[in-house]
Symmetry: C2
Subunit: 283 residues, 2 copies
């Protein structure tokens, strides 16, 4: 492999990595001070404060917003709730635009309460994304469908592979004017036997809008909150980035680690320094 | 849907469902007494006793052996260890033949210690299965590759989808004389966006050698030992069986539940009665 080492200006921190323990403006200052080129904030952080003020802070620090996390889940038991979910996403898209986000991250949702109908839920997801696409174009923020690991199919996402996300994007947006693509996260996709072809195909189609890194720990003790720091697990991170870059992706590399019992207990600056070191050595 | 209700004579109990708390001969008697038509024992149970005696007991009770669990993992860091793993599987195949097992269940193994090379591990798996196939033909026990859920790709199985298992079977055994196929487990595969096509294709090719049921709980609290009783989770079990039967599978339905904190704490006869009731109502 013959890749450029990652410069921190190409790297971004998803604020979940720090455990959401401090107000967003403090977090933003820490990320900038540590030398990163961007961040990806969460709605509950932004919605708790004044989005315009935060947007000004981000611009003043010359940080990129590599994604705005995340969509309200689409599937629901009633039509009224599905409409409300889309409406909630329209609102979030406006904030994403205010923040200058490079994409709005679509974590699409799992099965509605009491349902076992994956097919119906997937159909509702497609309808929901379709309904949101016009607003995305209007405010200038692309939608990035994030396929989640199959272990989240019940509760969090019925979109579980790159190929599946790509198929939705092609169907809803066949002429591709840049507002519907995919957020690739190594944690969700690393196991996929179709990985190489799926990345190549998505990249050729210019659908890769974001690239997230962390690591898969062996053993993993919690389905949601036990992601590893890059280098501490079994994902071939350099190999993954090589594939993504071979497919034409030249954007930012975003760190997103949910780690309740380890990294979320450490001082935020230690976490950031470790991310910086690992991004430049093992990613 | 218009399926035959399951008769218990078509149903089998994987002994893991009872938590391996009693000697295998006691377990076998319980399963027969509860009216099931078969069982799937584990090697550590059989290897702890006299395989011929157990085989006689199973024949006397007219139980089918729907699978023998399970292969020694194939991937390893050294060639010597890989050869030893195959040899261990040859030995187990002999016991499977003695038991009259309908298949030897191939849980193929994850990444070797310290490795991040999925591609190499998958190649080692293919080589290992290939090396075992002649012995399978010789003793008359088909090999059933079981794709495991992607959350096990690190530690337990680098074969993670039906299509992937099917491709291995076709490559190693293009003329298909009946000794290399797939064990389908709803727990591992239910989320797959390609499910319907994958089952149809494997069935058309007469590769489905076993069908396992349990349920996916929401939430799931442990990656390995928190499977649900059929009906307690979100898997569309009737829909899954319909697909499997539409694909030509007319074999047994095997219950395999790992449930450390729930079912493994209940009296074995209660577990068996619950399995019987659920198999006949929700499967």
């Amino acid at each position: 492999m013959n890749m450029e080492p990652l410069h921190l200006t190409r790297c971004s921190i998803n604020t979940a990595t720090l455990g959401h323990r401090e107000p967003i403006d403090v977090t933003i200052d820490r990320i900038a001070k540590a030398g990163f080129g961007g961040l990806a904030p969460w709605r509950h952080e932004i919605e708790a404060t004044d989005v315009r003020r935060i947007a000004r802070q981000i611009r003043a620090l010359e940080l990129k917003v590599t994604g705005y996390c995340r969509s309200t889940y689409f599937p629901a038991s009633t039509q009224a709730q599905r409409v409300a979910n889309i409406q909630s996403n329209v609102q979030a898209l406006n904030d994403a635009a205010e923040l200058g986000a490079e994409c709005f991250v679509m974590v699409v949702g799992g099965l509605p309460e009491g349902s076992r109908d994956l097919c119906a839920a997937r159909s509702q997801v497609k309808d929901g994304i379709g309904a949101l696409l016009e607003q995305a174009r209007k405010v200038g923020v692309p939608l990035a469908i994030e396929p989640l690991h199959p272990m989240y199919a019940g509760e969090r996402s019925v979109v579980n592979t790159i190929d599946q996300a790509h198929a939705i994007a092609r169907e809803l947006d066949p002429y591709h004017d840049g507002f519907l693509g995919i957020a690739l996260d190594v944690y969700h996709c690393w196991w996929d036997p179709q990985l190489e072809g799926a990345i190549g195909s998505a990249g050729k189609d210019k659908r890769i809008l974001a690239y997230h890194v962390s690591d898969w720990l062996v053993p993993t003790t919690d389905l949601l909150l036990d992601r590893g720091m890059m280098g501490d697990g079994v994902i071939d991170l350099k190999g993954f980035r090589q594939r993504v870059e071979n497919a034409g992706y030249a954007g930012m590399v975003e760190v997103e680690i949910f780690s309740r019992d380890n990294w979320w207990k450490r001082p935020p600056d230690e976490v950031l320094q470790t991310c910086a070191a690992r991004l430049q050595s093992v990613c």
